[in-house]
Amino acid sequence: MKKFINDPADVVAQSLAGLAAAHPELRVDTEEQYIVRADAPRAGKVGLVSGGGSGHEPLHGGFVGPGMLDAAVPGEVFTSPVPDQILAATKAVDGGAGVVHVVKNYTGDVMNFQLAAELAADEGISVETVLVDDDVAVEDSTWTAGRRGTGATLLVEKIAGARAEEGGKLAEVAAIGREVNAASGSFAYALTSGTTPAAGRPGFELPADEIEAGVGIHGEPGRRREKLRPAKELVRSALDAILDAKTFTGPVLLLVNGLGGTPLIELYLIYGEASAYLEERGVAIARQLVGNYVTSLDMAGMSLTLCQATDEMIRLWDAPVRTPGLRWGA
């Protein structure tokens, strides 16, 4: 394993220390391990907290700031944060108007956030949870833990964040977040697996001409192994999977997301193919974003996310945001 680290056990803590040094506009509690806006808590504002395992940067820590998250709670690499940590962040952002937890649908994340929400309730903080489960590669049945939360997390955090910033009430912020999630679908391909610092070897090994279809963002193998095909075909298959699973008539938000090790030159090529195919399918694109946003360490891979956008969502998407990882209008 080759990484720019000192000791696998200290990666998350030391990276957080670096984030704190690089972004004086944020406040990082290195003890309890969470990141908050420097001006938190803001009286009367609904707090937005998200988190999950580390290794998905800039998600979530890179999305803390005006117009998006009030706090992020990073766990160890690919490991959900613990309830104490989530509780501490929840208390740090509670301005009396309640707190929304944005939780990606993984057993560990769900349980730890649930325990934290119970602890917060004990302390008199109202918590609403928005569960993100956009990954259509996973069947949504009683035979699975349900769909995973992937690319749509960014959309939920941006749009709910804008709603909270403009003074939305707890129920409103949670409602728009849930609406975005319900309107979204994602599908991902991996060319290589990422390597966690602790494991020191790739999560899976792929032959030179094979890829994993339907992967999540934790280095887990996907739904099936396939032969590598031209980008055009992969993009079409991914979009077909999304368009089959949910109804999209447009206008949509389209996120072309790299999983960490994919160069921008490829992501833009993918965007070109995706926009051409959506046009062919009669789906208009209202807004788009291309980049490495919801990553899986150094995995070479990409995910596509569509969100059937209402005017309200587009208005909130366009609202100013000022975070290390996403910034416009500010």
């Binding site: 690499v77 959900s80 613990v82 309830p83 560990g108 833990a145 999560g203 934790h218």
Partner: protein
């Protein structure tokens, strides 16, 4: 079981998990995200430290402190699950320095109930329930048959190990492995495997 034995159990469990952390991580890499060994190792190391710092005076408190520590140090799915199992087990025990095998039967079942309540997994879903359930039953039966702690713990350990192995042909329906669908078949569940290690640790110290 007295409070010393309870602490030895936790220490032995920590040792077994440290020794097999790599195996657990590899099992988790195959059908999960490759952190189970690291997660539990971090947690049980903290458990041993916590029990040493302020040694509890009852068996119940050993288990509750261990559970609370796991819950606040492990994260992932296994942190809350093992955490609530141990906490529920501890809470089901009488507040005494020494408890009887029959008390432990009730505690083990209370822990199992907590796991199933929190995670919703049924037997056969390819989770730690598939090791924990048979172990709790074997323990109960052994005690009913007149076995002492050592005998019951040995029976539980054997049942847990068999239960863990029996997860190999199963298709996962809970946790990360369920995302894999049929591809989860043919691999042993990491959580069931760590559960077997923890019951084996109990047998070893009893």
């Amino acid at each position: 079981m007295d409070v010393t034995l309870a602490r030895e159990w936790m220490r032995a469990a920590a040792g077994a998990i440290a020794a097999d952390a790599d195996l657990l991580t590899r099992l988790d890499a195959a059908i999960g995200d490759g952190d189970h060994g690291v997660n539990l190792n971090r947690g049980f190391t903290a458990v041993v430290a916590a029990l040493e710092k302020t040694p509890p005076e009852t068996v119940a408190d050993v288990l509750i402190k261990a559970g609370t520590t796991l819950m606040s140090r492990v994260g992932g799915a296994s942190g809350p699950i093992y955490g609530s199992a141990l906490r529920a087990a501890g809470k089901a025990l009488p507040p005494a320095a020494e408890v009887q095998p029959a008390d432990l039967v009730a505690a083990l079942h209370a822990g199992l109930e907590a796991v199933r309540k929190l995670g919703g997994a049924a037997p056969g879903d390819k989770t730690m329930v598939d090791a924990y359930g048979p172990a709790a039953d074997a323990f109960e039966q052994a005690v009913a048959g007149g076995a002492d702690l050592a005998g019951a713990a040995g029976a539980a350990a054997r049942a847990a190990a068999a239960g863990a192995e029996a997860t190999v042909p199963l298709q996962a329906r809970k946790g990360r492995a369920s995302y894999l669908g049929e591809r989860s078949i043919g691999h042993q569940d990491p959580g069931a495997t760590s559960t077997a290690l923890i019951f084996q640790a109990l047998a070893d110290v009893s």
